[in-house]
């Protein structure tokens, strides 16, 4: 039995490290001043990458576009999804399964196909009708994303509608409500939680979509496409900073939601009166989802403020100095070696002296060749090279 728990514990540990390890490492790299996102040679604790992230105009513009497109998609996909779900619930069984397949199809079609076909279709429509002003990244991305995002919304609504007691609507009608009143006062309030989650899901789906968007967005860019092109040109820790922000937002949302759900469950299950947590007025107030949210926001706000005030330049300068010293050391070593070599070569092959001297002279301004053994990773010479190049340039050689 002991061995079982040991194995179970080890398995759980392995499982969770596999699941969350990458996130932890990525979040850590956001605070390392190294130009390349890494944990291992820890240089300095810094919050500068957050500033760099917010200073990236292309990303911030993409974020703005994503918000605009996301709002548009939510505003259209949620009503379309609701209408689809309602239509399905009213149909006879045979027609329903057929329509269901048709409505769900866009989810199964590759996003690339949806994106290209959106451009082709709307290109022809707008050119044919003279509504050329519609042929822009915002409009095309909204209509392109809606084709499949509204199916997500519909799935959420179908799940909720299955639990709706249709006699509720009949009761409302019987009590004198018009069909419109029955819809507004009975069905819509019942669907409210589903409308909330559908809005959330459609917003996320719109926000993180790449396959379709990369085509439909034309010359504009959304946050996701801007991010993708940034990664293609080489990554830096400001992306880790973005990951930290996203993880934090997710955690705040999840914790607040958990507090809300637990409270609701305890209250509806009658456990609220029995639980000491809810009996004590102080802890009762503290576990209120609103308070939980406020506490989290305050703590994160405080940390962010403290982070923005943190200055890592002294440490960074020290690290830089260390690097320069190390470089100087390496140079001296190199010079000594060259001199030794020259002395040796002079004694054996006096002719080749000029050829070697020219080669070394050209290299000396940028990256010194013997530096390679100091950095083990293959990518690091370029990172180092950039750093050194920028710093060594103003310094007088020799």
């Amino acid at each position: 039995m002991n061995r079982h728990t040991l194995f179970g514990g080890a398995y759980a540990l392995a499982f969770f490290s596999f699941l969350f390890g990458p996130l932890v490492i990525m979040a850590t790299t956001a605070f390392n001043s190294s130009r390349f996102p890494r944990v291992a040679p820890w240089e300095c604790f810094t919050t500068g990458w957050f500033g760099e992230l917010f200073g990236n105009a292309r990303l911030m513009e993409g974020l703005m576009n994503s918000v605009i497109i996301g709002v548009g998609v939510v505003a259209l996909a949620v009503p379309i999804g609701l209408a689809g779900a309602l239509a399905l619930s009213e149909l006879p069984a045979k027609l329903r399964s057929m329509l269901y397949t048709v409505l769900i199809l866009p989810i199964l079609i590759p996003g690339v196909v949806l994106g290209i076909s959106t451009i082709v279709l709307w290109g022809q429509i707008t050119r044919g009708t003279g509504a050329g002003f519609l042929y822009n990244g915002y409009f095309l991305t909204i209509v392109g994303q809606i084709t499949f995002v509204s199916a997500y919304a519909m799935l959420v609504f179908i799940a909720r509608l299955q639990r709706f007691d249709a006699t509720q609507t009949e009761a409302a009608l019987d009590l004198g409500a018009t069909p419109g009143q029955a819809f507004r006062k009975i069905l819509l309030p019942f669907m409210a939680p589903a409308i909330g989650s559908a809005a959330f899901i459609t917003l996320l789906a719109s926000f993180e979509n790449y396959n379709t968007t990369v085509f439909t967005v034309l010359s504009e860019s959304t946050f996701t496409t801007a991010l993708a092109s940034k990664v293609r040109h080489g990554t830096d820790p400001s992306l880790s900073a973005l990951a930290v922000i996203i993880i934090t937002l997710t955690l705040v949302g999840a914790l607040t939601n958990e507090a809300y759900q637990r409270r609701k469950e305890a209250e509806s299950g009658g456990r609220a009166s029995r639980s000491p947590l809810y009996a004590n007025p102080v802890t009762r107030a503290l576990t209120h989802p609103g308070i939980v949210f406020a506490i989290l926001v305050t703590v994160i706000g405080g940390i962010s403020y403290a982070g923005s005030q943190y200055d890592s330049s002294v440490c960074e300068a020290a690290v830089l100095q260390e690097k320069l010293d190390r470089q100087e050391e390496l140079r001296a070593e190199q010079r000594a070696r060259i001199e030794a070599q020259e002395a040796e070569q002079q004694s054996t092959l006096p002719k080749s002296n000029s050829a070697f001297g020219g080669a070394f002279g050209g290299l000396g301004g940028g990256t010194p060749a013997p530096e390679a053994p100091a950095a083990p990773k293959p990518e690091s010479p370029s990172a180092f090279g950039g750093a050194f190049g920028g710093i060594t340039a103003p310094k007088p050689e020799e």
């Binding site: 007691d165 006699t167 509720q168 009949e170 009761a171 409302a172 009608l173 019987d174 009590l175 004198g176 409500a177 018009t178 009143q181 006062k185 009975i186 309030p189 019942f190 509806s268």
Partner: protein, 367 residues
């Protein structure tokens, strides 16, 4: 209200309701009087709920007319009819408080919030649940929900209240209590109640009149005691209450009485429904368990006791006469009396007026 009582009658004028080839209600023709407590009684699938939905306006009759208060209701939607329906599962609105539920009919008619609350409190007083207006529906007990549903239906001030087996979800004690309560509320408000049930106990105890339905056909309409004592068809005789059925051949008829030859002997009994039989006609004789009396001299025949079920006040005794198993109800005589033992032979008999001869027809299936 008492002086100028509005016409709260319902007239079903040759109403048939069909779904494709299936006839749910077949030529129903009856009048439900103003202020009456009227029940439709029948097994599930007999068409009684379809009938109710037709009266409330959720479906239209395929043939015939429904008249409420003398007015033809063709094309009038459920929200425009002077009816209110209490659903089998009540269909209270779970997202609203009790008071909001009750005042919902007023809300959709544009009554102000203050007046709605006043009316809701009045109705809560009437159903003897004052002060629960702010509770959630989920916090109520089964009986309370029941009464709230009635209050909500009455808030419309309907002429007709339709009830679709509303007591079926309650436990026995509460169900019996609610029967009395429903009847009292009906007397108080003077509204016509149309009650749907498969529970004969409910139908017989509460109703002024009962319509027994089977396979879409109204088999018999009448006061509860007439339904029980004077069944007009084999279905009514077998569905309402317990009954022993003996099949046989008519030997002769004189007035209300006829003689029926069965494998157990020839018995004399009342003819149901004033029918006329010829000698040689096949017929069924129904005699109720409580009318089979040990040692009675009329229509006597020998039988053997097979088993008995003790149920407090009554003892259900099963006896075999020839190949026929009979059911006999005996009042518990207490410690002073003695019960016949198993395997004992005894003589049973019944009075001719307390048994009914009916034509052979479909019977209620045992379940």
């Amino acid at each position: 209200m008492p002086d100028q009582t509005p016409d709260r009658s319902v007239l079903l004028d040759h109403v048939s309701i069909r779904f494709g080839n299936f006839t749910a209600v077949d030529n129903a023709n009856l009048k439900i009087n103003s202020g009456e407590f009227f029940s439709f009684l029948g097994p599930s699938g007999c068409g009684k709920t379809t009938m109710l939905r037709c009266i409330s306006g959720f479906s239209e009759p395929t043939e015939g007319k429904v008249l409420i208060g003398g007015k033809d209701m063709a094309g009038v939607g459920p929200n425009k009819r002077p009816t209110a329906l209490i659903f089998q599962h009540l269909a209270l609105f779970p997202l609203m408080s009790v008071a909001e539920n009750i005042a919902f009919p007023l809300e959709v008619r544009g009554v102000s919030k203050k007046e709605r609350r006043k009316k809701a409190d009045e109705l809560l007083d009437m159903i003897a649940l004052p002060g629960i207006g702010d509770k959630k529906v989920s916090e109520l007990s089964g009986g309370q929900k029941q009464r709230v549903a009635i209050a909500r239906a009455l808030a419309v001030e309907p002429d007709i209240l339709l009830l679709d087996e509303p007591l079926s979800a309650l436990d026995l004690k509460l169900r019996q209590h609610m029967r009395t309560e429903l009847r009292a509320i009906q007397k108080q408000v003077g509204v016509t109640f149309i009650y749907i049930t498969h529970d004969q106990g409910e139908a017989l105890t509460m109703s002024d009149r009962v319509a027994v339905m089977s396979r879409g056909v109204i088999e018999q309409v009448g006061e509860p005691d007439r339904i029980y004592n004077r069944p007009r068809s084999a279905f009514v005789a077998s569905f309402v209450g317990e009954n022993n059925a003996l099949q046989g051949v008519i030997k002769g008829q004189s007035g209300d009485l006829a003689a029926l030859e069965t494998p157990m002997g020839t018995f004399e009994a009342r003819v149901g429904g004033g029918r006329k039989y010829k000698a040689g006609d096949e017929a069924l004789l129904f005699v109720r368990p409580e009318q089979l009396i040990p040692g009675a001299s009329e229509n006597a025949f020998p039988a053997t006791l097979t088993r008995q079920e003790f149920e407090g006040a009554t003892n259900h005794v099963f006896a075999k006469a020839g190949d026929t198993e009979l059911r006999i109800s005996m009042v518990n005589a207490g410690l002073a009396g003695s019960l016949p033992g198993q395997g004992e032979s005894l003589s049973l008999g019944f009075q001719p007026m307390n048994a009914t001869i009916l034509p052979v027809g479909h019977m209620a299936s045992e379940s």
